[in-house]
Structures are given as structure tokens and as C-alpha cells.
């Protein structure tokens, strides 16, 4: 029953979020700030993780297909498929749920407990629209770019793993990543990225906005937000995969 209450409250929150901004010039400023905070500042970690995970995927595949009957170019092929279809859109989103989600919940929760949200309301500002809408739009715009970057870095990581370990030849790897390339998979991955971007911003915003108490509750809300965002991403991933690839 309590879960239903939260789900209802979440959708009521969204109704307040999707209202016309009170002043476009202020909104534009906030949007650029959020693109910087939520997007640009995540590029480093995304590139780092993707590069090394791409390398690990290539090494693991190479070690597991060590048979003279399996062509080596399948290592590049499998790495590409794994990264484009699952690793970049889904697991990067879970990493972003941890990094960005906890940032959103803790910053909004702190604003709540220090009465900064009340201050906005007293001024006659729709605080949900002012605080959450720029975050959602920034994420919807920038996360697909981050996911594309993650795909690129993952595949590059696999290439360098081959070069450094001599487990496969770079020519085979390059042939493998070009083999049977279907642009629909990129579209599929970006569709997931957009859906997950919405989840990564709105669920933590909900937990931060409605937090009650002090700093301890803000910490708890951040943890809860990351857990619930990850659960929702995993569930949606299943349904989206079934819908888009099934």
C-alpha cells in the first residue's frame, strides 16, 4: 500500500515538473548548468570505466573462445555486441544512477532540510519545475552522448587489450567489430539511454524533494534513491529488451 502511495506521489510530482518555466532566460541558464553538472562532469568516469571494461570483455571473450574452430574475429564481434547492447546503455546507467542520482538526492534533500525549497515556494516559484525540469532535459539531451562515448571507449579498450596481451590480432578485432553491423542496435541502445536518463533524474529528485528530517535522513534518502533507481533500470531494461528486440 505504501509503495502505491509513493508511485502516486511520484506521478503527481511529475505533473508539477512539466509546467511552463516561469522565466525562460533563467531556465536556459539552469539548463546549461545542469548539462555541466550532470553530463560534462560525468564524462571522465564514463570514459575510464568503459575503456577498462571493454578491455576486460575482450580478454574474457578471447580466453573463453580459445578453440581453433572458432575464428578470432568473433572476439571483436562479441565485444562490440556486448558493449553496444548491454554494457553501455544499461550498466553505464546504473553507474550514473550512483553518481548522478546520489548527487541529485543529496543536493535537493539538503535544500529541503535547510528550507531553501520553502524559500523558493514563498517567493511564488514552482520549486519542482524550477529544480527538476532542467535536470531532466539536461539528462535527456546529454546521456545519449555519454552512452555513445561509452560504446566508443569500450570498443577502443578491447582493441588495446588485444595489443597489450597478444591474445588476438588487431586486424581480427577490427574485422570483428565491423562484421554484421546493424544500426538498429545503436537506436535500441539510445532509446534505452533516454528512458534511463528520465529514471536517473526523476526518482532521485523525488527522494530528495520529499525528504523530512536532517542530514541523516538526506543520507538515507540518497541510498534509497540509488537502490530504487537501479531496480527500476533493471526492470525497464528487461521490458525494453523484450519490446525492442524480442
Amino acid at each position: 500500500m505504501n509503495y502505491l502511495k509513493h508511485i502516486g506521489k511520484y506521478f503527481i510530482m511529475l505533473r508539477q515538473v512539466f509546467k511552463k518555466p516561469q522565466k525562460w532566460s533563467v531556465f536556459r541558464e539552469l539548463l546549461f548548468r545542469e548539462i555541466d553538472d550532470l553530463g560534462l562532469k560525468s564524462m571522465g568516469i564514463i570514459m575510464f570505466i568503459s575503456f577498462f571494461v571493454g578491455g576486460v570483455v575482450a580478454i574474457q571473450t578471447a580466453l573463453n573462445v580459445d578453440s581453433p574452430f572458432i575464428p578470432k574475429y568473433l572476439i571483436g564481434f562479441a565485444t562490440k555486441r556486448g558493449i553496444i547492447l548491454e554494457f553501455a546503455p544499461t550498466f553505464m546507467s546504473i553507474i550514473l544512477a550512483g553518481k548522478v542520482g546520489s548527487y541529485i538526492t543529496s543536493s535537493m534533500g539538503t535544500m529541503r532540510v535547510t528550507e531553501q525549497i520553502d524559500a523558493l515556494e514563498v517567493m511564488g516559484i514552482n520549486s519542482l519545475n524550477y529544480l527538476v525540469l532542467p535536470k531532466i532535459l539536461a539528462a535527456l539531451f546529454f546521456y545519449p552522448i555519454l552512452i555513445l562515448l561509452s560504446m566508443f571507449m569500450g570498443i577502443i579498450g578491447g582493441y588495446y587489450a588485444g595489443l597489450l596481451t597478444d591474445l588476438f590480432y588487431s586486424e581480427d578485432y577490427i574485422y570483428g567489430i565491423q562484421l554484421d553491423f546493424d544500426p538498429y542496435y545503436i537506436k535500441y541502445a539510445l532509446t534505452k539511454a533516454v528512458v534511463f536518463a528520465f529514471v536517473i533524474t526523476t526518482i532521485p529528485a523525488y527522494h530528495g524533494f520529499y525528504v523530512k528530517g536532517g542530514s541523516l535522513e538526506v543520507g538515507r534518502a540518497s541510498t534509497k534513491a540509488v537502490v530504487w533507481t537501479s531496480i527500476v533500470i533493471i526492470l525497464l531494461n528487461y521490458f525494453l529488451t523484450q519490446m525492442l528486440l524480442g
Binding site: Q22, K23, S25, V26, S107, T110, M111, T114, E115, Q116, D118, A119, E121, V122, M123, G124, I125
Partner: protein
């Protein structure tokens, strides 16, 4: 004038405000006092429109809060300034950006006009060279002054303060009290202060409202509070030996 008639507010079946009626006049500093849990904050939040009362009327110069449409309500809120207990300054913005904020949101003034206004209110609260600092870089007293500057930057008609002196040393608290009273006189606004600080009450309380268990148990001026025989008020206000002695001295002097 702000008029409150028969105000009731409930939370989860428990009635916090039980039929409060009072008036607040222009150019006066009004203090709301009472024990923790007496309904002071809920009352203030009802006046601010942050809580919707179950019953009763709140009228701001004839504008009845519950009958206002979204636009009129927003206009009413722009006529209000609020100083929160902790200041509630936006910690990601500089002092200048904090005070600019309402101007940017609600006016079409040029950047230079807005900056002139920011500097004018900062001068009014006697703060200099703080424009580019962040709230965390200022002392508690300075943060309160910035909060007052932000509250008056839109020339409000009504100024609300929630415990403006909490966490301040007695000297800084007096500075803040005097500043609020001067601003009330100068701008001829209605100021309503929620306070536990009896020094403030005695110093600047032109009208004092004592709430007890959600009821308006006593009303009077800062002189009448010395003479009142209301047991609840006497017990609350003169709970410390110092204030008991002050009262005795006042009464022996006037008799």
C-alpha cells in the same frame, strides 16, 4: 492590514490551530510567541500560504488568500518577504546572485538596474564587499543580514521572520532586531516575527500574540506584557529569574 479570522489547521486528525483570530497593522512589528508545539510555525506557514488551513480566512489588504487564483496568489507571494530561521540562502549561489534571484525571476529590469538595487539593499543591511562571497563564507549574523536583504529587495508589503535571532550572540541579535524594526518603519510594511527570544519581544514587539495549544491566548504590547496577570503568559515569559526581576523592577517603578 492582515486579518486572520477563525483559523483552523489539522494534521493527521490532530488540530494544531484552533480558531485563531487577530489583525496585523501596517508599519508595526508583530511578535508571535509561545512554547514549542504551540502552533507558531504552523500559523506562520498558513500566513505564507505554505499550509492550507481547514477553516478560516486570511486577508491581505482585502485579498482573501483562499479565494485567489494562481496568478493573484503568485502576485501576493511577491509582496511577501521571508527571513528563515537558518537564512535559507541558496548555497550554490554567491551573495549577489542570492539577492538578484527574485529580481531576475520577477522583473524585467536591466542588469545594471538590478545590481544597483542589490547594492542598495546590501548597504541598507550594512554589508560591504560580500557580493562575490558564498553564504558558507559568512558568519551567522551576516547570513541573517543577507537573508533580510533578499527579503526586502522586491519592496515587499509583508515581512515574515522565523526565529531571526536563533544561534546569534546577544549583541548581533540586537543588531538584527533593530534592523528589522528600522526596515518596518522605513518601508511601512507589516512585519510578523516568530520568536522565542524574550529580549526581542521586549525590545521591538509593538504587538505580541501569545499562542498556547493552538489558541490565541493573549494579545498586547511590549508594555502590557509587563502588567498582564494572564498566568500562561507570566509563566512563559518570566520563566527565568532575570526576567522575573526585570518585571518586578518595572512594576515597582510604575506603581
Amino acid at each position: 492590514m492582515i486579518e486572520v479570522k477563525d483559523l483552523y489547521k489539522e494534521f493527521n486528525g490532530s488540530t494544531v490551530l484552533k480558531g485563531i483570530s487577530t489583525t496585523f497593522e501596517k508599519g508595526k512589528t508583530n511578535m508571535i510567541i509561545g512554547q514549542s508545539g504551540s502552533g507558531k510555525t504552523v500559523f506562520l506557514k498558513c500566513l505564507l500560504g505554505l499550509h492550507i488551513p481547514e477553516k478560516g480566512i486570511i486577508s491581505f489588504d482585502g485579498r482573501i488568500q483562499s479565494e485567489l487564483g494562481i496568478k493573484e496568489r503568485r502576485q501576493l507571494r511577491q509582496d511577501m518577504g521571508m527571513v528563515f530561521q537558518g537564512g535559507a540562502l541558496f548555497d550554490s549561489l554567491t551573495i549577489e546572485e542570492n539577492i538578484l534571484f527574485p529580481l531576475k525571476m520577477f522583473t524585467d529590469k536591466s542588469k545594471s538596474e538590478m545590481l544597483d538595487r542589490v547594492n542598495a539593499v546590501l548597504n541598507r543591511v550594512k554589508l560591504e564587499n560580500v557580493n562575490n562571497k558564498f553564504p558558507a563564507e559568512l558568519s551567522g549574523g551576516m547570513q541573517k543580514r543577507v537573508a533580510i536583504a533578499r527579503a526586502i529587495v522586491m519592496n515587499p508589503k509583508y515581512l515574515f521572520c522565523d526565529e531571526p535571532n536563533s544561534g546569534l550572540d546577544p549583541r548581533t541579535a540586537t543588531v538584527i532586531d533593530n534592523l528589522i524594526q528600522e526596515i518596518t518603519d522605513e518601508y511601512q510594511i507589516i512585519t510578523i516575527i516568530n520568536s522565542h527570544d524574550m529580549n526581542s519581544v521586549m525590545e521591538i514587539g509593538e504587538k505580541i500574540i501569545f499562542l498556547k495549544n493552538g489558541i490565541n491566548a493573549w494579545e498586547g504590547t511590549n508594555e502590557e506584557i509587563f502588567e498582564t496577570e494572564n498566568e500562561a503568559v507570566v509563566e512563559f515569559v518570566y520563566s527565568s529569574n532575570l526576567f522575573k526581576k526585570v518585571r518586578e523592577a518595572y512594576l515597582s517603578k510604575t506603581k
